[in-house]
C-alpha cells in the first residue's frame, strides 16, 4: 500500500535534505562572497518556517492574516527577554517563546470565529499595530522603540555566531518545520482546515468543531511564527519595531501566494523565490544595469521587483507549486495528450 499517494513518494526528500546541508560547502567552493549568500538563505530559512505556519492558517484554513510579522515580533521579543533578562537557556526558550506566540494566536483566533475574509485581514493587521504599541509600552524589557540587542544562540555549550553556523542551526529547524507542516497538512487536522475553508457546512457535518479548529489554526500558526521569531532574534542579534513592519506581513502573504496557496512545498518555494529575488537577484541585476547604462539610479531595485511580481501573477496565477504540478503531469503524460492539465 505504500506510496499509493504520489505525494508520499519520499525517496527524493533525503536527497534534498543532504543537498540543503551540503549547500554551504558548495557555495564556499564557488564564491568568495559565500557569506552574503548564506545570510540571504538564512533569512529565507526563517521566513520559510513562518510561512509554513502562515500557509496552514491563511492558505489551508482560509483565515487571512495580515499581521504575521507581529507573531514574529512576539516570538523574537519573548525569546530576547527570556534569554537575556531572565536567564532562560536558549534551548528552553525555543520551546517557551513559540508557546507565547501561540497563545497570542489563540487570542487573535477569537474574532476569527465571527468574521472572515478581508475583515479578518484588517483585524489581524490591527493586531500588528497593537503588538508594536505593546513593545513600545513595555520599555523596561524591550527598550521601547530604541531596539534591543540580543545574545547569540547557545546550544549544548556552543555559541552559534557566524552566518555559517547560523545556516546549520536555521536549516535544521527548517527541515523540522517543513516536515511538521506537511504532516499536519496531510493529517486529519489539515483536512479539517481545508474543509473549513471550502465548506463550513460540510466540515461541521463531518464532525469538525469549527471554533476549535479555527483556534487551532491560529495557535499552530503562532507557534511556527514564534519559532521563526526566536531564530530571527538570536541570529540577527538586534531587533527593533522597524524590523516587524506591516509591509513584512504583506510580503509574507505575497510569498505564499506566489508559491501557491495551500501547499507546504509551495510556501517553501514561494519564500525562497521572493527572498532570493528581492535580496539577491534584483540587487545583482541592478548592479548589471548600473554597469551597462553607467548610471547610479537607485530606486531601480523596487521597480524591477515590482515588474517581476506583476508578470508572475499575470502568467502564473497558480503559483510555483501549481507550475511544478502542471509540469509533472505534462511529463507523465508525454507524449500523449499534453494538453491535459491539473485534474
Amino acid at each position: 500500500m505504500k506510496g499509493r499517494y504520489e505525494d508520499e513518494n519520499l525517496y527524493w526528500i533525503p536527497v534534498l535534505i543532504i543537498f540543503v546541508f551540503l549547500l554551504p560547502f558548495i557555495l564556499k567552493g564557488l564564491s568568495f562572497s559565500y557569506k552574503y549568500y548564506l545570510f540571504v538563505l538564512n533569512m529565507a530559512g526563517i521566513y520559510i518556517i513562518l510561512n509554513v505556519g502562515l500557509d496552514l492558517l491563511s492558505g489551508f484554513t482560509g483565515l487571512l492574516s495580515l499581521g504575521h510579522a507581529a507573531f514574529l515580533a512576539v516570538g523574537a521579543y519573548s525569546s530576547a527577554i527570556l534569554v537575556d533578562q531572565f536567564g532562560v537557556p536558549f534551548a528552553l526558550s525555543l520551546i517557551l517563546s513559540p508557546l507565547v506566540a501561540g497563545l497570542f494566536g489563540f487570542v487573535i483566533g477569537f474574532p476569527a470565529l465571527r468574521i472572515s475574509g478581508m475583515y479578518l485581514g484588517l483585524t489581524t493587521m490591527g493586531f500588528g499595530f497593537i503588538v508594536k504599541r505593546m513593545i513600545i509600552a513595555f520599555r523596561e524589557w524591550t527598550h521601547g522603540s530604541g531596539g534591543l540587542d540580543v545574545s547569540s544562540p547557545v546550544l549544548f555549550g556552543y555559541t552559534i555566531k557566524t552566518d555559517w553556523n547560523n545556516y546549520f542551526l536555521i536549516y535544521t529547524f527548517v527541515v523540522i518545520a517543513v516536515v511538521a507542516g506537511r504532516r499536519i497538512a496531510k493529517s486529519k487536522i489539515g483536512r479539517a482546515f481545508m474543509a473549513i475553508r471550502d465548506s463550513e457546512q460540510a466540515a461541521e457535518a463531518a464532525g469538525i468543531n469549527l471554533a476549535k479548529y479555527k483556534m487551532l489554526a491560529f495557535f499552530i500558526s503562532g507557534l511556527f511564527a514564534g519559532f521563526a521569531g526566536v531564530l530571527f532574534a538570536h541570529t540577527s542579534s538586534f531587533i527593533s519595531t522597524d524590523h516587524f513592519d506591516i509591509l513584512l506581513s504583506i510580503y509574507f502573504i505575497i510569498m505564499i501566494l506566489v508559491g501557491g496557496v495551500s501547499s507546504i512545498y509551495g510556501a517553501v518555494l514561494g519564500t525562497l523565490f521572493i527572498v532570493l529575488l528581492d535580496n539577491l537577484f534584483v540587487p545583482l541585476l541592478k548592479d548589471q544595469i548600473h554597469f551597462w547604462f553607467n548610471t547610479q539610479a537607485g530606486d531601480i531595485q523596487s521597480l524591477i521587483f515590482g515588474l517581476i511580481m506583476f508578470l508572475f501573477i499575470i502568467f502564473q496565477p497558480m503559483g510555483l507549486y501549481g507550475m511544478w504540478l502542471k509540469m509533472r503531469i505534462y511529463w507523465k503524460l508525454f507524449p500523449f495528450n499534453p494538453r491535459q492539465r491539473f485534474t
Binding site: 540577527s236 542579534s237 527593533s240 522597524d242 540587487p283 537607485g298 530606486d299 523596487s302
Partner: protein
C-alpha cells in the same frame, strides 16, 4: 609518501598565502570602493537620493584633482527602504560581495544599529552614519570603536534646547511633542538629563510615526500652559503642530530638533512657522563659512539641479569631506585599521563645514554642539553662536 607530499603542498600553499599580503578589500591601485546604504524607495526616499548625491559631488571634485593618494573614490549605494533587515542584507552584499573598503553615511538609527554585528565581525569601519542618534557614539556598544559619528546626538540637542530656553526665560514652562520611536526615545534621554539638572518637569506628548492629527497633543500643551514647545519631529509634524496651535490661537515659542531644521518646515508652515527655531550641528549651507562657500562653488561647477541644493545635499558634501580627510590620513596603503587610526588623529579638524571635530580612542562623537536657526520672514537665520 603521497600523504607527505600532499601535506607539504598544503603547507606550501598556506605559506604562500600568508607571505603574499593581500591588499585591503576594496582598495586597488586606482580605486577605493566605499559602500553606502540609503533609503531609496522607503519613507525617507527624498533624503536617500539627495544626501549621497552631495557626497558624490565632492568625490567627483577630489577624483578630478587626482583622487586620494592617486586613487579615485567610488561609492556604491544600496537600498534599505528604512528596514533594518534589508539594511543588513544590503550591507552584507557590500561587504562580502562587493568587498567595499569601508561603509559610509548609512541612513537611519535602526539600520545602523542592526549592522553592528557585520562591522565587528569584519572590522569594517562606518564613517558618518546619517543619524543624529546619540547611541552611535556610544563606544561601549558592539562595534562602537568602528563607528565615527559626526552629528550632535538628539539627546544633546534636546538638552541644549532646554538650557537655551531657560536662559532666555527662567520661568518658561516647557513641553515636548515627540515621535515615539528610536528618535524620540533618544531626545527624551537628553530631556531627562536636563530635567534633573534644572529641576523642572517637561510636559511630554507623544505621537506615532506617520501621524497627521495633532489636535490632542496641542490641546494638552495649551492646557498645560506651556510657553515653549520642542517638537521632535521631521517635517510634516512640526508644520501640523504649529498650524494647529495657530488655529487654536495658542502662540508658544516653537523649537525643533534634528531633521526639523529642513527649510521646508518654515515654507510649509507659512505664518505659523514664523519664529520656529531648530537646532543644527553644521554650518548653514548658505552661510559664509569656508565649507559652504566651496559647496556652492562646486554646485555651480557640476551643474547640480536646483531642487537638490540645500541642507541635506550639503550634509552629504560635508561628511564626504570628513571621509576624504580620513582616507588621506589612512596612508598610502590604507587598511581598515589604518583608516580607524587615521580618523583618531583628528584634532580640532576644521575645514569650515562642521564645527571643529576631534576624534580619539575614547571619543568618536564628532560634533557635540549646535547652533540655532530661526525662521524670520520666511528665511532661515542663524541666531546664536555654537551652544554646548
Amino acid at each position: 609518501m603521497k600523504r607527505v607530499v600532499g601535506t607539504l603542498i598544503i603547507i606550501g600553499l598556506l605559506a604562500v598565502g600568508c607571505v603574499k599580503r593581500a591588499p585591503a578589500p576594496g582598495v586597488t591601485d586606482t580605486e577605493v570602493l566605499i559602500g553606502n546604504v540609503q533609503d531609496l524607495s522607503g519613507p525617507l526616499k527624498e533624503l536617500g537620493a539627495i544626501i549621497p548625491s552631495g557626497s558624490n559631488m565632492y568625490f567627483q571634485y577630489i577624483n578630478d584633482q587626482g583622487g586620494v593618494h592617486g586613487r579615485s573614490i567610488k561609492m556604491l549605494i544600496e537600498d534599505h527602504q528604512y528596514n533594518p533587515q534589508k539594511a543588513v542584507a544590503a550591507t552584507k552584499k557590500l561587504v562580502e560581495k562587493d568587498q567595499v573598503f569601508c561603509l559610509f553615511q548609512i541612513l537611519g538609527t535602526s539600520p545602523c544599529e542592526a549592522i553592528r554585528p557585520i562591522l565587528s565581525e569584519t572590522g569594517t569601519p562606518l564613517i558618518a552614519p546619517a543619524t543624529n542618534s546619540g547611541t552611535m557614539s556610544d563606544l561601549s556598544r558592539e562595534a562602537g570603536d568602528l563607528i565615527f559619528h559626526t552629528d550632535t546626538g538628539y539627546d544633546r540637542q534636546g538638552e541644549i534646547l532646554v538650557d537655551y530656553i531657560l536662559n532666555q526665560n527662567s520661568d518658561a514652562k516647557i513641553g515636548i511633542v515627540y515621535q515615539d520611536d528610536d528618535y524620540g526615545e533618544n531626545v527624551l534621554v537628553g530631556i531627562a538629563r536636563a530635567e534633573e539638572e534644572h529641576e523642572i518637569t517637561v510636559q511630554k506628548e507623544s505621537y506615532q510615526r506617520g501621524a497627521i492629527d495633532f489636535k490632542g497633543q496641542t490641546m494638552n500643551l495649551l492646557k498645560g500652559g506651556c510657553t515653549d514647545v520642542i517638537i521632535a519631529g521631521i517635517v510634516r509634524e512640526p508644520v501640523t503642530v504649529m498650524k494647529t496651535a495657530e488655529a487654536m490661537n495658542y502662540k508658544p515659542n516653537f523649537f525643533g530638533t534634528g531633521p526639523t531644521v529642513d527649510a521646508r518646515v518654515g515654507k510649509l508652515a507659512g505664518s505659523a512657522g514664523e519664529g520656529f527655531t531648530a537646532t543644527y550641528w553644521a554650518n548653514m549651507w548658505n552661510s559664509d563659512a569656508p565649507g559652504p562657500i566651496l559647496y556652492r562653488e562646486l554646485c555651480e561647477k557640476y551643474d547640480i539641479p536646483e531642487p537638490y541644493i540645500g541642507l541635506y545635499h550639503y550634509y552629504g558634501f560635508a561628511t564626504a569631506q570628513l571621509l576624504v580627510e580620513g582616507l588621506e590620513r589612512a596612508g598610502r596603503n590604507p587598511t581598515r585599521k589604518s583608516l580607524v587610526r587615521g580618523l583618531e588623529t583628528f584634532k580640532n579638524w576644521d575645514v569650515g563645514s562642521f564645527p571643529p571635530i576631534t576624534y580619539n580612542r575614547n571619543d568618536h562623537a564628532g560634533v557635540d554642539k549646535v547652533q540655532l536657526v530661526q525662521m524670520q520672514n520666511g528665511e532661515q537665520v542663524v541666531i546664536t553662536d555654537w551652544l554646548e
